[in-house]
């Protein structure tokens, strides 16, 4: 049984038909990436999975359970965490308060210290700045904080939306290394990315989205060799 199963979802904004029947699966332990151009519906897919949007049709199964009707704030209790597009850190809260919010869903408060240490080992920069107001962090640090915050809830599935957006290439690589590391520790990752080269380099499998539909799905290796993908998303002629 796949960990996440998205079955033919249709999502609308008012009368705008944004997702026209997306079907995808994520197996436990995988990194799966969704690539596509601006406006292809990647973020909408993630927002629908995380229950911030409701599909008009279709359903989402997580570990066999239908999660498309539970409220958004229950998702994290199911084991699904998301790093939203634009990082979505709480700018007026301090770094450590942001991390506290990541652990909001945790009942086992005595283990929090350990998790905090783990995040600080992943991102030593955050430790230095733990009492700083998050809004004053640099873009890269904010992205680290966002991922670290999501990890605080011990998710089994991590949804990542455009982690590379607006970051310098060096930072992008660092971020993707971290994503790979997190995956190694046992967290399944569904990654939405415009930077297809990077995404495909860490992912096991990938889906290509175009105007709300999946046009291609294959292993990451095959996708990076695919002519169409190369042309459209990898900048090769």
């Amino acid at each position: 049984m796949p960990m996440l199963e998205v079955n033919n979802i249709h999502t609308y904004y008012g009368n705008i038909h944004a997702l026209k029947g997306i079907t995808l699966t994520v197996e436990e332990g995988e990194i799966v990436t969704l690539i596509g151009a601006n406006g292809a519906g990647k973020t909408t897919t993630l927002r629908t999975i995380s229950a911030l949007l409701r599909p008009r049709q279709g359903n989402v199964l997580f570990e066999g359970e239908d999660i498309s009707k539970i409220p958004a704030h229950q998702m994290i209790y199911q084991g699904v965490a998301m790093v939203p597009e634009g990082r979505g850190i709480f700018a007026r809260l301090s770094v450590s308060e942001n991390l506290d919010m990541g652990a909001y869903s945790r009942k086992d408060t005595q283990n929090l210290g350990k998790d905090l240490d783990r995040v600080f080992t992943l991102f030593p920069r955050l430790k230095e700045r733990r009492s700083q107001v998050a809004g004053t962090l640099s873009g890269g640090e904010q992205q680290m904080l966002a991922i670290g915050r999501a990890m605080m809830s011990h998710p089994r599935l991590l949804l990542l939306d455009e982690p590379s957006m607006g970051l310098a290439p060096v930072l992008v690589e660092a971020i993707f290394d971290t994503v790979a590391a997190i995956n190694k520790e046992g967290t399944t990752v569904l990654l939405v990315e415009q930077n297809a080269t990077m995404a495909l380099s860490v992912a096991n499998r990938g889906y290509v989205l175009q105007t709300g539909e999946i046009v291609l799905s294959d292993s990451a290796q095959n996708l990076s060799k695919n002519e169409m993908v190369q042309k459209a998303y990898l900048g090769m002629e």
Binding site: A72, I89, F90, E97
Partner: protein, 353 residues
């Protein structure tokens, strides 16, 4: 935003003109008053303490506006009615009977606690009910719509309580343990005023700590910043918003008790004006900020009390206390023109305002 219009000199000229003319006017009035010297130093201290006590109440009510504004970006016009509902109910059901039986003055502490609890619970109940019925279904409506339901809720609550308890002024019994004066800074002030100021400080500090330190407090701040992301963290946004309303209303309920202690009468319309003033105070301090509400409230109280005699007495304005609100609102306009984020507000709030 300031920069955006910088190239237009005419506007700057007008604003400068307003600033200068008001400052000249205020300076002129102040100097004339001081030369005339109608009041002794004691009286001035007195004015300040009076303002402080009144300002404390504004501050407590303003907290509710600021909290709700922080999470919903909505002016909750019904907040003054939360304030009224608590103390009206407590007066009719608790304070009146307790005083009639003599229990109030024999056991003032227990009685006051009972009054406080009933007042706060009623305010909170009314607030939660209002939020559930009138605001929650409209969370995604255009911004002016909840404003209108808030206005509707305000009228509705006023007249509901009028219908329940009658339209007349209800006396609130004098608590003998709190009557009399004590000496403070070389002047005599009323014990009740002292109680108000101390109680306000305690509650404001308590609230501040709650919002800054507790998990729920942090959740409120998270919801204020981004509801979607807060939901992703596992925070029940609707519940948190209801808690925010409850917090603000509990402060208003407590403010109601303090009001009753000082002024010793309640009325179904008593929430309207303090509500308006408290909202002004919240904006003055910087809406969305808790210290802002406190500072704005105190500032407003002191200005109302000290402003009219200081600025207007020397100018021979007849019945100048009538113009106290003119001073208040002029102050507000000045602050907002030259410091749009309020006295202690952060610029962050502006983009959402």
């Amino acid at each position: 935003m300031q920069r955006r219009l910088q190239n237009i000199n005419y506007l700057d000229f007008v604003l400068w003109f307003i600033r200068v003319s008001i400052i000249v006017f205020v300076a002129w009035g102040t100097i004339a008053t001081l030369l005339d010297n109608p009041y002794s130093a004691d009286v001035w201290v007195n004015f300040t303490v009076l303002g402080l006590a009144q300002g404390s109440m504004y501050a407590l009510i303003a907290i509710g506006y600021t909290l709700v504004y922080g999470v919903l970006f909505m002016i909750n016009f019904a907040h003054g009615e939360f304030f009224m509902s608590g103390i009206m109910t407590a007066t009719v059901f608790i304070a009146g009977p307790l005083s009639a039986s003599g229990y109030l003055n024999n056991h003032p502490v227990i009685s006051l606690l009972l009054i406080l609890v009933v007042s706060m619970i009623t305010s909170v109940g009314v607030a939660i009910l209002t939020e559930r019925v009138a605001y929650r279904p409209l969370r995604k409506a255009p911004r002016l719509v909840p404003l209108i339901t808030a206005l509707g809720a305000s009228t509705f609550l006023q007249y509901t309580f009028r219908g329940l308890f009658g339209s007349e002024v209800k006396p609130f019994p004098q608590v003998e343990a709190l009557s009399g004066k004590i000496s403070f800074l070389g002047t005599e002030i009323l014990q009740t005023q002292m109680v108000v100021i101390i109680a306000t400080v305690i509650m404001l500090v308590g609230l501040y700590l709650f919002v800054m330190r507790t998990k729920t407090g942090k959740a409120i701040r998270a919801v204020a910043e981004d509801k979607d992301v807060a939901a992703l963290m596992g925070i029940d946004v609707d519940r948190t918003i209801a808690i925010t309303f409850a917090l603000g209303a509990s402060m208003a309920g407590a403010a109601g008790v303090l009001y009753a202690l000082v002024f010793r009468q309640v009325h179904f319309y008593m929430g309207f004006l303090p509500g308006l003033k408290a909202f002004t105070a919240a904006v003055l301090g910087g809406i969305g900020s808790i210290p802002g509400a406190a500072v704005g409230g105190l500032f407003l109280g002191i200005f109302e009390s000290v402003g009219p005699p200081l600025f207007l007495d020397g100018l021979n304005v007849p019945a100048y206390h009538q113009l106290k609100d003119v001073i208040t609102f002029t102050l507000l306009v000045l602050v907002l023109i030259f410091r749009p984020q309020g006295i202690v507000g952060e610029r962050l709030a502006e983009k959402k305002a």
